[in-house]
């Protein structure tokens, strides 16, 4: 078990900045996920932790020890690659034994530990199979066994589920989580799939264009997105540009472009937004927070249906609000589904309105 610290890490490829000022602390035994769209720098960051490339600036520490430019074979990490990277000229057993052979264990010990590792991933007795004789899901588990058998301090997983089909993905995901809990190993997981990240992680780092957007527990990044990018990427929030009308006690009164008034709570202001009458803010609303209007006093919104679909459990609407789209998921309680062009009056609870920053980007820094 080890904790991992990145101190102001930058990675430059020529003039292109792949990672900018990555600065965070992963606690020992934590399941930590790098989440973001492709090209956001998450894999580059992982590869720097693995030692396959070195930061241009900054430091990487494992348990207070500076490993910034340590060779990858001296880091004591286990890594699972997106395409598994199993050695095609070796059997399953030889693949798993590879790291142990390098550590010069005696033959009996190697055999025992390989058997145990394969047992751990439910592949007992597969030692003598060839790599191309087993399925993708099994290959994935061999890769996991190969990474875990050396009892690494840190486990790195680079989009390990992306080559599996949907059903297998769910099973393997819980398998990975189970192993991580059982072994208590510090795990860094890279994915672009937000639901995967939410389900598996202790904490999530959300990145875009090489820049950290937010770090937090799945609940925090979902419920309290720091900026418009996180809000959109995680919660499918509808985001509106608005002006602050006034601030009274714990309430903030805003006006949308078309003059619609909304009220939200001051505690829902995320981070360092400058408050004051006339200031521009981004107001975010999650689809499942939108309710049907039932004579509430405030936050009544008269909208027109742009598109509607019925999923059985809920009705999903895209509503026209102030020229922008408000997404709404209304749990099915027997209401008639409104069709395109019909009007629908909805209500936003005061506590469900969030005030955000724009996404962190290069220009602001």
């Amino acid at each position: 078990m080890a904790d991992v610290i990145l101190e102001h890490v930058n990675k430059q490829f020529g003039k292109f900045t792949a990672v900018e000022d990555a600065d965070f602390h992963i606690k020992s035994g934590e399941f930590f996920t790098f989440l973001g769209p492709s090209g956001c720098g998450k894999t580059t960051t992982l590869r720097m932790i693995a030692g396959f490339s070195y930061p241009s600036e900054g430091r990487i520490l494992f348990d207070q020890r500076d490993v910034t430019t340590l060779a990858p074979n001296k880091r004591d990490i286990g890594m699972v690659f997106q395409n598994y990277a199993l050695f095609p000229h070796m059997t399953i057993g030889e693949n798993v034994a590879f790291g142990l052979k390098i550590r010069k264990l005696n033959k009996q010990d190697i055999k025992k530990r390989v058997a145990r590792a394969l047992d751990l991933v439910h592949l007992s007795g597969y030692e003598n199979r060839k790599v191309h004789e087993i399925s993708g899901g099994q290959q994935q588990r061999v890769a996991l066994a190969r990474a875990l058998v050396i009892e690494p301090k840190i486990l790195l997983l680079d989009e390990p589920l992306s080559n599996l089909d949907a059903k297998l993905r769910d099973d393997t995901r819980s398998e990975i989580k189970r192993l991580q809990m059982e072994l208590g190993i510090t795990t860094i997981y890279v994915t672009h799939d937000q639901s995967e990240a939410m389900a598996i992680s202790d904490r999530i780092l959300i990145m875009k264009n090489g820049i950290m957007q937010q770090i937090g527990t799945p609940y925090e990044v979902y419920a309290k997105p720091k900026n418009s990018f996180v809000a959109d990427f995680i919660g499918k929030h509808s985001i509106f540009t608005a002006y602050i009308e006034k601030i009274e006690n714990d309430k903030i009164f805003i006006k949308l472009k078309d003059g619609t008034s909304l009220v939200g709570l001051k505690e829902n202001v995320v981070s360092d937004i400058q408050l004051g009458p006339g200031k521009e803010v981004l107001a975010a609303i999650r689809p499942e927070c939108v309710e049907l209007y039932r004579n509430q006093e405030i936050n009544r919104l008269d909208t027109k249906v742009i598109h509607s679909e019925f999923t059985g459990m809920s009705a999903n609407y895209q509503l026209d609000l102030a020229g922008d789209t408000l997404k709404a998921t209304i749990i099915n309680q027997g209401e008639v589904l409104k069709k395109k062009g019909e009007s629908l009056t909805v209500h936003i609870p005061v506590k469900s309105l969030y005030f955000l920053n724009k996404e962190a980007s290069h220009e602001e820094r």
């Binding site: 900054g58 004591d76 890594m79 997106q82 550590r103 191309h132």
Partner: protein, 573 residues
């Protein structure tokens, strides 16, 4: 972009991760490319501008002089032969590809299997067999004369026509293979879509099928043109003195190294321009079909008459394809000096084969070829592995320079390689560590090394780029140091691809004639040169026994290479 300057510091990289480290590793590679590819060409180029140690355009004046038009005529002949070869190879190769890929008829499979036979025929043996078969004293013309009791032979191959027929036979596969691959892999749904949109069959062929084949056709044309320009063996056998390659060798034989340099320079410029055109064109063409589409169906030949016709035509074609090899085999059993005016050799013996392996003098060229080709191939493989690993795994500037330098020898005619090595290494130079290499044993392995550099590098590079680089990273992550993971993971994964390429290079070395004839010393005579010498002392039997040995070696090695390639493709998922 503002930097957070108080807490971050620029990372101090270990030596192996410094950007200049790769250049130190690659320094020997640059040395080899500069010394053995660039420098010899540079010498030839410079030599062509100096007469008696003074700068002069005299040689080029002579080349383009209108009073003695030998060189202009040679250039014209070379171009003319090359263009006709392209047309002829194109018709035969493309026609055969269409026939074999579009129609189902009795004999198709057999014909298809034999269609690639010319590839196993070393150039000298190919040309000699045609002379034996179709020359003025050849088996076929004489045989026809005897059978029909004619006063004269009814036809025979000679001169430029002979050269073009030999070129067609040996080079049509450069059209046949890519065109049949393109036809086989084409997306038939495109043609169906065109039919569905109302195009007639003729329109579909002109507007859809043909444009899809154009890239392959153009690439094959350029290739055949380049190889024809470089061809030396066929003009030699048919006595066409006035081609550029023949003139180069003649100048060299007459001791006029200056003129040989000027001629080589002109030929190099033509060849390298074609290489450049080809590379530019390769960069642009990309008609890879998007969908797999339904398998292309071959049309079955149904009528009995056509079926019979197809069987007869297939048999004739197979005979034509096999005759050269059969002839060489037959003559290899003939007693030296007994075959004069007869249609077929009158007396037979197996002594030539016994001699090959028992007589020290006859064995020597075989041993020479094996040893020299092996040395060159070993050098190629080491060079290829280093460069291919660096180019496919490491980021550095100068990749495209290395790639271009390596590809140059591919465009160079063997004659030019020979002349340029003579020009560069008949005096001591730093690249030969102060030694004269010309007239030593080492000059031919060096020539083979240069000639087969592109072939082996290409296949080695392909092997590296097809394997997954994350396997190496996985090994490193599991604790293996660089050398260990290179030996245990990287090399085993690429070994098959490298071996199959190396065998191809070795095979080329076994059959090499053009550079060898310019560079051999009495102690380093390779098989092809021995064949040539035996031919001219009328030891046809011995010459052909050497030839059969060459063919067997080439065929066996090619089969092994294919097998290895197939195996390694299966294991590299």
């Amino acid at each position: 972009m503002k930097k957070d300057n108080n807490s971050s510091s620029v990372t101090k990289l270990p030596i192996s991760a410094k950007p200049w480290f790769i250049y130190i590793v690659l320094a020997p590679i640059f040395f080899i490319l500069l010394g053995y590819v660039v420098y010899p060409l540079y010498r030839v180029f410079i030599d062509s501008f100096y007469v008696d140690g003074k700068f002069s355009l005299e040689l080029y004046k002579r080349f383009f002089s209108l009073s003695s038009r030998t060189n202009i005529q040679a250039t014209w002949n070379s171009l003319y032969i090359s263009i006709l070869s392209v047309i002829s190879c194109g018709i035969v190769g493309t026609g055969l590809a269409f026939l074999l890929e579009s129609y189902e008829f009795p004999g198709r499979k057999v014909l298809k299997a034999f269609a690639v036979i010319p590839m196993a025929l070393p150039s000298l043996i190919g040309a000699i067999s045609f002379d034996f078969l179709y020359g003025s004293t050849g088996i076929i013309p004489r045989g026809l004369k005897e059978i029909f009791g004619l006063a004269k032979v009814p036809f025979y191959l000679n001169g430029i026509a002979g050269v073009i027929v030999v070129h067609t036979f040996t080079m049509y596969t450069y059209f046949y293979l890519p065109i049949s691959a393109a036809l086989r892999n084409r997306d038939s749904s495109l043609e169906e879509a065109a039919l569905n949109l109302g195009a007639s069959k003729g329109q579909v062929f002109r507007r859809v099928t043909l444009p899809m084949l154009t890239p392959s056709l153009i690439a094959a044309s350029l290739l055949v043109f380049m190889i024809s320009m470089a061809s030396y063996t066929a003009p030699l056998i048919y006595g066409i003195d006035r081609t550029l390659t023949m003139q180069i060798v003649l100048s060299r034989t007459n001791g006029d190294l200056g003129m040989a340099s000027a001629q080589s320079t002109i030929l190099t410029i033509i060849s390298v321009s074609f290489l450049i055109i080809m590379r530019l064109y390769e960069g642009k063409r990309n008609y890879a079909s998007v969908s797999k589409g339904a398998a292309v169906h071959r049309k079955e030949v149904k009528s009995q008459f056509k079926k019979t016709l197809a069987i007869i035509a297939s048999i004739v074609a197979v005979i034509i394809l096999l005759l050269p090899i059969l002839t060489i085999i037959l003559i290899s059993f003939s007693k030296d000096g007994t075959w004069t005016y007869q249609v077929l050799p009158p007396k037979y013996t197996i002594a030539h084969y016994a001699e090959l392996f028992t007589d020290a003098k006859t064995w020597k060229p075989i041993k020479n070829s094996l040893v020299m080709s092996l040395i060159a191939t070993a050098g190629n493989v080491i060079f290829g592995v280093i460069v291919a690993y660096a180019v496919s795994r490491v980021k550095f500037k100068g990749k495209s320079i290395i790639d271009k330098l390596i590809m140059i020898p591919w465009a160079l005619p063997g004659t030019v390689v020979g002349i340029s090595l003579i020009a560069a290494f008949n005096v001591p130079s730093i690249f030969s560590f102060g030694q004269v290499i010309v007239a030593t044993f080492w000059i031919i392995p060096l020539a083979y090394f240069i000639r087969h550099l592109p072939l082996i590098y290409r296949s080695t590079y392909a092997a590296f780029s097809q394997t997954d680089s994350s396997c190496e990273e996985a090994a490193r992550g599991l604790g293996a140091n660089w050398w260990y993971s290179f030996r245990k993971i990287v090399l085993p994964m690429v070994a098959g691809g490298i071996a199959s390429g190396a065998i191809l290079g070795f095979v080329q070395g076994i059959g090499e004639f053009v550079a060898s004839i310019l560079l051999y010393t009495p102690r380093s005579i390779p098989i092809s040169v021995a064949i040539y010498q035996k031919m001219y002392s009328f030891h046809f039997g011995t010459a052909c026994a050497y030839g059969v040995l060459q063919i067997v070696l080439v065929a066996v090695l090619l089969l092994i290479s294919e097998k290895i390639k197939g195996d390694s493709e299966i294991s590299a998922i």
